[in-house]
């Protein structure tokens, strides 16, 4: 098992290196420079100074090697866009907002998704099934910005129940959290519903019942564990995506997170920030995938062999 984890981590590092390399070259292939924006009326002197400082006139591979050397020691450079701001400081400020919002929406998505799915799997009442199916359809088909907008209009403007700006208190989390969770809720509830219905049709459930085990216990002891496997496979990458933020939701609710930074950094050709954010995003995804596989292996002994 330890050998397996070490192997996965090493492979993850290689992937991360490949990701960084590709991003570095692609980023420079985008037309435009950090100084091409309208707002950047820098004097020639400052401009030359910056170019010299960041070796922007040197060939790519020399810059890349220098970048890697620094990055390995934890130095991701300063932002090309915001004067004097260390990239790590920018991320350090934004990440807590993004990550806490992501964690909240992940919990909402898992809790509501699993509950809805389980209810739909067992309910024989058509209206319950209809409601769950409706939520699932809305969740996948209505974009999160529209949901966010409608919620802001209703709970923020009309009723004035919920604050619409920033993340200063727990109430601030509700609207952006729900907006982010709705799509995943739809996905998870469907996975749970079909998974449970599928498992309850399996032969091993019949055998469990033939032992005199009650229906509820059969579900909890036997079916649930097997039905939850696909949800875990989906939940790992979902968590990684959620804690790295969403540009749309962060912008709409004026949340100073890294989701918004990501898009802005590309628009601004803020090379150092793009690189750092990409590496962080990649690392999250890789860690999430390893964690997912470990949890799956803990649940399903057959996975361990592969």
């Amino acid at each position: 098992m330890t050998k397996y984890i070490v192997k996965r981590v090493l492979f993850g590092l290689v992937t991360l290196f490949a990701l960084a390399t590709i991003t570095f070259y692609l980023m420079h292939a985008i037309p435009g420079t950090p100084f091409s924006g309208e707002m950047r009326q820098l004097s020639d002197v400052i401009r030359d100074k910056l170019i010299e400082l960041y070796d922007l006139d040197k060939p790519y591979h020399i810059r890349y090697i220098k970048y890697l050397k620094n990055a390995v020691t934890g130095n991701f450079g300063t932002s090309l866009h915001r004067k004097g701001a260390e990239v790590m400081d920018i991320i350090g400020k934004g990440l807590p907002y993004t990550a806490s919002l992501g964690a909240v929406s992940f919990c909402i998505a898992m809790f509501v998704g699993i509950s809805l799915g389980a209810v739909a799997a067992f309910s024989k009442k058509p209206w319950i099934n209809g409601t769950v199916a409706f939520i699932a359809t809305v969740g996948v088909s209505v974009p999160s910005f529209l949901v966010a907008l409608l919620m802001m209009l209703l709970f923020g403007v009309k009723l004035g129940w919920l604050p619409m700006i920033g993340l200063s208190g727990w109430k601030n989390f509700i609207m952006p959290g729900v907006a982010l969770a709705l799509g995943p809720i739809a996905m998870i509830s469907r996975l749970v519903k079909s998974g449970l219905q599928e498992e309850l049709r399996q032969d091993y459930v019949t055998l469990a019942k033939s032992k005199g085990t009650g229906e509820v216990t059969v579900v909890l002891r036997h079916a649930l564990k097997n039905a939850i496997l696909p949800v875990i496979t989906y939940a790992g990458p979902l968590l990684a995506t959620l804690v790295t933020g969403s540009f749309v939701v962060e912008t709409m609710f004026t949340i100073p997170g890294i989701g918004a930074e990501f898009v802005n950094s590309v628009t601004n050709r803020d090379y150092t920030l793009i690189m750092a954010l990409t590496i962080i995003y990649g690392a999250f995804i890789i860690i999430a995938n390893i964690a997912t596989d470990l949890i799956s292996a803990a649940i399903d002994p057959r996975v361990r062999l592969k």
């Binding site: 033939s210 005199g212 097997n226 057959r302």
Partner: protein, 334 residues
């Protein structure tokens, strides 16, 4: 002899997208204490559904109608109970303790993500006041009883680490956990190699004798029941078409379907005793024939066979058969 199980006029319908499947129609039979009863019929003839309805294992799509179902003094007829809850409570008490089932496919009937030991302990913990430690001890005993080598290490393994034959032994061990009075074995050897089939059958026979349990042995292979069963029911198209002692069935079969089955096992050298000797296919259970279910494949079919269900003829106190030919013989004799 005392009756252990009596079933009268059992019918089971399934609601499906294609319509209503009449899987079991008006089946009556009984089982004596200490007896081994064989139920033989082609696949799809309603053998499993009959047994599942006795054990209360059918899902919500099944509609059961039944005149009488009595097990060892307990009414287990689902139609006698006001609520599903009351019925379930009675069945939870019986299943896995006084009656138990051995299932057909060792590959699918064990939970793939649960250790063998836990699956074995479940019926013990359900029905006794044993501690987990005691139940584990009992599980180890059961594993030795059914002939699993080195149970101490095997008990903590998962089903995928067992061969088909070994899994079937586990399934048997689960059924035996609480020394049941009735063991229903639903095609216990169908999914196994020929060499292992004989071992598993011997095992069931020996253990039932040791525990003094009664056994219902379901199979689609008449050859399997020949050496084992005291009495045999022949099922076809959701009905019991003939019932008799092993001698009556083997030496003086009455129903054309039984005769057809026997004609395919007359060659003992031939290991491939597949039940496909009779040309044609079983009746469509969505629209079962009004008359004899076997009419489309019967060489001796008459006009009346298509129109009217054959009446049951009593050939001896133990030998019954539902075929119009008997009526014909009787009339000719008069």
């Amino acid at each position: 002899m005392d009756n252990l199980l009596t079933t009268e006029n059992l019918s089971v319908d399934f609601e499906t997208d294609q319509g209503i499947v009449h899987a079991v129609r008006n089946v009556s039979f009984h089982l004596n204490k200490g007896e081994i009863l064989g139920i033989v019929g082609e696949s799809g003839s309603g053998k499993s559904v009959t047994m599942y309805s006795i054990m209360g294992l059918l899902g919500d799509t099944a509609h059961i109608q039944c005149g009488k179902m009595l097990f060892d003094g307990t009414d287990i007829n689902p139609c006698s109970y006001q609520s599903k809850k009351a019925y379930s409570a009675v069945m939870r008490d019986l299943c896995g303790s006084r009656m138990a089932m051995i299932f057909q496919d060792p590959m699918t009937f064990l939970n793939p993500t649960m250790k063998i030991g836990k699956q074995l302990c479940e019926p013990i913990l359900n029905h006794t006041s044993m501690t987990k430690q005691q139940a584990r001890q009992r599980a180890l005993e059961l594993m030795s009883l059914v002939g699993i080598p080195s149970p101490e290490t095997r008990i903590d393994q998962y089903p995928f680490e067992f061969s088909g034959g070994m899994r079937q032994r586990i399934i048997i061990a689960i059924a035996l956990a609480n020394n049941p009075k009735l063991i229903i074995a639903d095609e216990p050897t169908t999914a196994l190699d020929v060499t292992i089939q004989a071992q598993v059958l011997d095992l069931i026979k020996d253990i039932s004798k040791k525990l003094q349990s009664s056994v219902i042995l379901i199979t689609h292979d008449l050859g399997v029941v020949a050496s084992l069963c005291d009495r045999i029911n022949i099922m076809y198209g959701g009905k019991i078409v003939e019932t008799g002692t092993d001698k009556e069935i083997f030496y003086s079969p009455n129903h054309p379907y039984t005769k057809g089955l026997l004609s395919c096992i007359c060659n003992p050298e031939d290991d491939s005793r597949e039940l496909k000797p009779i040309p044609g296919s079983p009746p469509d259970l969505l629209q079962p024939p009004k008359g004899c279910p076997f009419v489309d494949r019967c060489d001796e079919a008459m006009k009346i066979c298509k129109l009217q269900m054959p009446e049951t003829t009593v050939l001896s106190p133990t030998h019954l058969s539902a075929c119009w030919l008997n009526e014909l013989t009787k009339r000719q004799g008069e």
